[in-house]
Symmetry: D2
Subunit: 472 residues, 4 copies
């Protein structure tokens, strides 16, 4: 992904230098690649001109192009210094804030206070915000900001000032990537440009696309792929989801990824399985896209394919194995009957044996695992439904599910529908979910109440089958 980003950046510098597309010529400033202290003055002058819009709005955008081109020429250290500059010099002015605070405190009446508060709000707006907004007006400016943020995220934890820059940028991106602006597009082999499809290969984060043949299969008969596109980044998917149309809930990954097995679409398909959802840009972390994508695709499929009435995922449990290894160490997890099945006499030993088995770095033969299916399924149900994030230090209870994928779908209003044994018997599948995968199901009529229950009270909606497992 880094190589691709670099390539885009090079393209941008070239554009901004030549002014070829937007008619803006933004020659980079003469600064050393590591942006030493001695070069800061010139850069600040340029930023100041840009902020005050000297020469009019268009001149300000040209200036922004020059600043952007300058940034793209910097090395890693130079970029950190650039962010540092934004953090330290282009926040608000504390003196102004203090003055505005006094004006509020001294206001005579409510109207006067209203005006003073308005001024206070303005003094609190960081100066860099205007610079960042100007980039949006450049060709390639919005994706530039997305990539910029990808780099900025690293510095977030450094200190509060860097985090504040990131907050400003995220808040800007949230506005510009509001779902109202996004276009839901079905990607197809026959209709989508090769360059766009190539991005799927690049960005697929869940089940890697191995070749163009594999890619064709993902779009092909019995499969769908939908993405969100932004009007200012027409060649870049923001997020995409891959869907398989199946008869009943899918219980294993293999058939979904094996396109040769069943080349024709299944005419009895009644279920849409969302088996892969990938965010394409780390720079959009924290900008909510996935929940809207799933809901829009559900609506789209429901209206286009009346026979498809069931919507569910086939999802991994990324942290199940690591949680279980730890939990077997810390707590008594097994039911007496389960312990007995493993080691007739010694419950402690049973836990130890189980822990040892699942700690195997490679996938054991199915034969040796199958007897454990009931036990591991029950524990998986417990893991998904009962285990929550939490901070042992602050002892603040966090209502969110421990498993990040579970948390994502539960927040969206899905319910935990079914556990599938031996669903992904690959190395990765073993390391994450001990070969198990989960179906989260989206029942249109329940989505809202599930969402509320989960967000307000941490209540996890489950199927009968899951409830039975939990009741053991």
């Amino acid at each position: 992904m880094v190589a691709q980003r670099l390539e885009r950046m090079v393209r941008r510098v070239r554009q901004w230098r030549s002014g070829s597309t937007a008619g803006l010529v933004g020659s980079p400033l003469q600064v050393a690649p590591d942006l030493p202290r001695s070069d800061l003055e010139g850069l600040q002058a340029a930023i100041d001109d840009c902020l005050t819009a000297k020469g009019g709005e268009l001149a300000a955008r040209t200036q922004a192009a020059a600043i952007g081109a300058t940034f793209l020429n910097l090395n890693e250290e130079g970029r950190r210094n650039f962010f540092r500059l934004l953090a330290d010099e282009y926040d608000h002015d504390d003196a102004e804030v203090d003055g505005a605070i006094q004006a509020v405190l001294n206001s005579r009446d409510s109207d006067d206070r209203l005006r003073a508060e308005r001024r206070l709000a303005q003094t609190l707006r960081p100066k860099r915000e205007r610079l960042l907004r100007r980039f949006v007006g450049l060709d390639e400016g919005l994706p530039f900001l997305v990539d910029l943020r990808e780099e900025l995220l690293v510095h977030r934890r450094t200190d509060a000032a860097m985090a504040a820059v990131d907050n400003d940028l995220r808040s800007l991106l949230e506005t510009w990537f509001d779902v109202a602006l996004l276009r839901l597009v079905r990607l197809t082999w026959d209709g989508s440009p090769a360059a766009l499809l190539e991005k799927l290969i690049e960005y697929e984060a869940v089940h890697a696309i191995k070749s163009w043949d594999d890619l064709r299969g993902r779009l092909g008969p019995g499969r769908r792929c939908y993405a969100f596109l932004h009007p200012l980044m027409p060649g870049e998917p923001l997020i995409f989801v891959e869907v398989a149309l199946t008869e009943g809930l899918a219980s294993g990954l293999g058939p979904l990824l094996d396109h040769d097995a069943d080349p024709a679409p299944n005419s009895r398909a009644n279920t849409a399985i969302f088996y892969s959802i990938s965010n394409c840009h780390r720079g959009l972390a924290g900008v909510s896209l996935g929940d809207f994508l799933i809901k829009k695709v559900v609506r789209e499929l429901a209206s286009e394919l009346p026979n498809v009435t069931q919507f569910a995922t086939l999802s991994p449990m990324p942290r199940f194995r690591s949680w279980l290894i730890q939990a077997l160490q810390d707590r008594d997890l097994l039911l007496p009957s389960e312990a007995k099945a493993i080691s007739p006499d010694d419950p402690k030993l049973a836990q130890g044996l189980l822990k040892e088995l699942i700690s195997s770095p490679t996938l054991p033969p199915q034969m040796s695992l199958d007897p454990l299916q009931p036990i591991l399924s029950r524990l998986a149900a417990r893991y998904l439904v009962t285990e929550r994030r939490g901070d042992s230090v602050t002892e603040v209870r966090d209502l969110r599910a421990l498993d990040p994928v579970a948390n994502f779908h539960l927040s969206n209003g899905a319910r935990v529908e079914r556990l599938n044994w031996w669903a992904n018997p690959s190395q990765t599948g073993w390391e994450r979910g001990l070969t198990m995968m989960v179906n989260y199901r989206y029942l249109p009529a329940e989505i809202e109440s599930n969402h509320d229950g989960y967000v307000d009270a941490g209540t996890v909606s489950t199927s009968e089958e899951i409830r039975t497992l939990l009741a053991l």
Copy 2:
């Protein structure tokens, strides 16, 4: 325009009720059309649910649709009460603000202060902002906000709270109508949908379009029409400009509007005359569109038609006559030679006679006016270049030109190029500019410095011809 707006509103209510397009069913609440105090509680409950996003983001948008549909069912009084509610109950919370101010004042160190300021900024954000943003996500939501603002503008002057609502809304619209999102479109008879062209008839504010034949002529050979469109309002031009391609600067309105006179495009055309520019939505007042439109069209024409090297307007002087009548009353305006030409012996009488003549409610015969051309031209030049807005009470000098059209083009970086006598000998032309019109010229190389000079110091750039008039 009102009828069209009403029609759009009716369409929206229907959509939001039926949920036909966005799948959102937003049944209007049961309130009386004048929204009496007793009905406020239910409405507030709905708004509160929407703000807290009960049931998830999609539920919140459905709630917004219901609130929007409710608003559309209100009568004038009901709508004023609705705005009142937003003004009084959905601003920020003063107690929260006070608390956050104290936290800033008491902050221990700079990082702590940074966090406290961030919280303070959040407490200052009006609650209604989130409601307004949710509308954007609805089908037809963005134009709904534009129309809403058109109604809200009336109440702006009532009090500071109402103005604050408008400020919030304008700020939101400024983001959503950022020029980066707008698409410049050339409207043509052969390629543009009839429904879109029909909007030109509706919105043309400068020189009314009389018929479909007239409309065809405005787009036709030797003419161009460009508009800005927004991706969320594809059928609605936001602003458009009409251009005539001429040989040299146009000196009169007649030939520009008479399409039969010269049906073929002029192969010797070297000048693009912007003779009409119309904002389509009062609800976007204060959102900067026109300057970008002109500059983008200049660039577009320059690259498409290499022979066209001159860009200018043919513009009215809306306040020249009224200013002159007043000024002749207040001040000595005539040069001795001019006074003598009118009344050989009595300068006072000369001013009086001139004032009387131009006070004629109807256009006098050309014969009787022509002798005054030199005098009126000089006064017009003075009016455009020297006269500024200003507040006689505060005595704060305002650098902006008195004439609003002049101010618009000068802010964009144009210069005052030429005065045209008898350019618009219609009743309107008489009442505004005593038949005169101005060419403002856009010289690409001067735009930035002109802008700066005008905005920073009130310097008005002029042609040699105008300077000669002023030097008399």
Copy 3:
């Protein structure tokens, strides 16, 4: 229509002269506008070069452009001479034909005969065919041929040689306007370019479109308009049909043309009424388009609007009144009971009175006509179903219905469904059908057998209601 055609022709000359679009420069030859005998030689030389493709295929097309431009510069007499030239000099060569005939007669064996026949077929191909085909390759070449044929049609009856030219041209156009190439397009106010919609006003031949408001109504809620477009004439509809979506069969023209009466689409609509179908180009006379259009639109509507299950027309009976006036003169048409109703004692007088009444040049008051409805309805049914074309001289019986509109729909496989009294009480409606109009109904399941029955044996399919009328 002539003015429009002329305008198109002027545009073509300009294009072909300047070579602007296809890069072909075809300067018209120096000939007098009436193409006198003395100018023929140069023209023939140009045509010969074009036929032998001197300089390659592209040169031949340039030559064709020159010949086309020459034609467009001719006056009426010149054009007749041009056609004459094609008729007399660019048919086949009789000597070559004779030689090829001898070769066939003398052929040794079947393979030899096959080759000889092939050569014979080639000698019979008129030389002009290749010239005509070359025009197709020019920009605007295909519409040029369509317009050319419109002019040629006039000369068809002159002699067999002129008719032969027309046959060649029609046969060429039949290939190029094969329905496989045509695109069915729904024309809408929101999506179709103004220039294309304007053509509807120009070409509507059945119920004139009075204004742009009327046009909007024809496309508007509860209405549809479909046209065939050709890829080489993208801005020109070839034929279009106007459809109203109604509840049950439409019984009168008024509501269909009155768009203000019911602005909203009827949610109970179950019937599509084809109330106007217009061919746009006389030059395509004899090229079958209408039957395909109706069938394609039926299929389109059926798939898009599942509630619409009935497809019918509301059609005029253009020759009913003139036929009836003549028939009442020639034959005894009235049943005894009918005669008695009109004149109790004198059947002859009854016929005379009826004839006199319907001979009224203007529409009589409804009151006075209503009593005749049963009689006139029965006679109309007879006219539609029983009366056929025929040649009293040759006594060859022609199976086709006398009424041309009836013949069109019956050939397409429709059936005569219902007669509607007072359906079009206008002057035209009186002169054609004595205010009556017919519904022809398209029952998908019957279309093929109806077609065969009608074409093979002249059998007219009818509804129960019509059969009852005929049984009287």
Copy 4:
């Protein structure tokens, strides 16, 4: 290519059976796969119904779909029997032809003769022509005919009747693939659908495309690819040409195919090299496409890239080596000086040595070949310019160049510009042109006269450089 064709055929049968797209249900007839004599009757009945359009035109097309589906179910023998049937039973009727001939011979006057000739022409039209035309109206019907012809071509040589079927089909395809209907499309990585680009991999016949990366390079910076598309086969290129933009004439294949070497477009490019041109469908053999494609692309590039002023190919000489081996055997080819250079004393031996060397099945080391460059270049020039096709038996001199690629470009009006030594030092390059490749150059101003000279008199246009070689 066969696999792809089969896949398309299967898709068509499915479509025609289900009637899914065109609404036509054409169930295949019940015949055995080898179409034995006993099954012919049913098939003939279906064909006859189709020809007489029983049930109307739409019914006839459904019938055609059924016949097409039947054909697609046949095996190889069955298909040959099908073609046999078309050849023997669906040509014209000899008796009818004889009658029509008599009518011509007996005609009274010229008008009568004209009518008789017209009838004769009709009797000579093969009946199968109408069947073939009906296929065009089906979805996928036109590509079906193209594929059908690919199979039919094999039988062309069998006998005159089979050849006659092919002639009919080719003549139909010539009309339907007239260049006027074709759309020139630039294929790009960013804009063209993956499915369309994939066809390039399938159809590239000159320099195989090895991977999707290779494909991206062919479209990429400094490269262009243009194709002709037909409106009825939107996803199928008919023919395409690959172009490299270079500085001066390209002298070797390597750099053109190595996309990594120079990823950026050459800003000094002044030459467009057509280095690969591939017909995509054998079924269109004899239908002229390539000459138009080259000329249209030349025009397109010239208008888009004003700096590109030179247009040439880099072409193989497919038959040079085999011709030279033979010629060295038959004739004295070497100049005395050349012979001496190879074998100082024995000219015969010199020829023998040369023949032996070039007969080497594998490419010798460059070092050992370089000394021969002057001799082989001269012989190659002679081969291209002087050697013609010809039939030693009939002694009819054929003016066409012996080399098929030379003949193609010379017919198009190009000239032989330059020979390039070691231009393609691959195994194929050795076997064809002894590592040499030719530049044919298209000089817009000479194209027409070159064409005429070559076609009329066999004159080959050459550059100074080639003339020097020939003058030795």
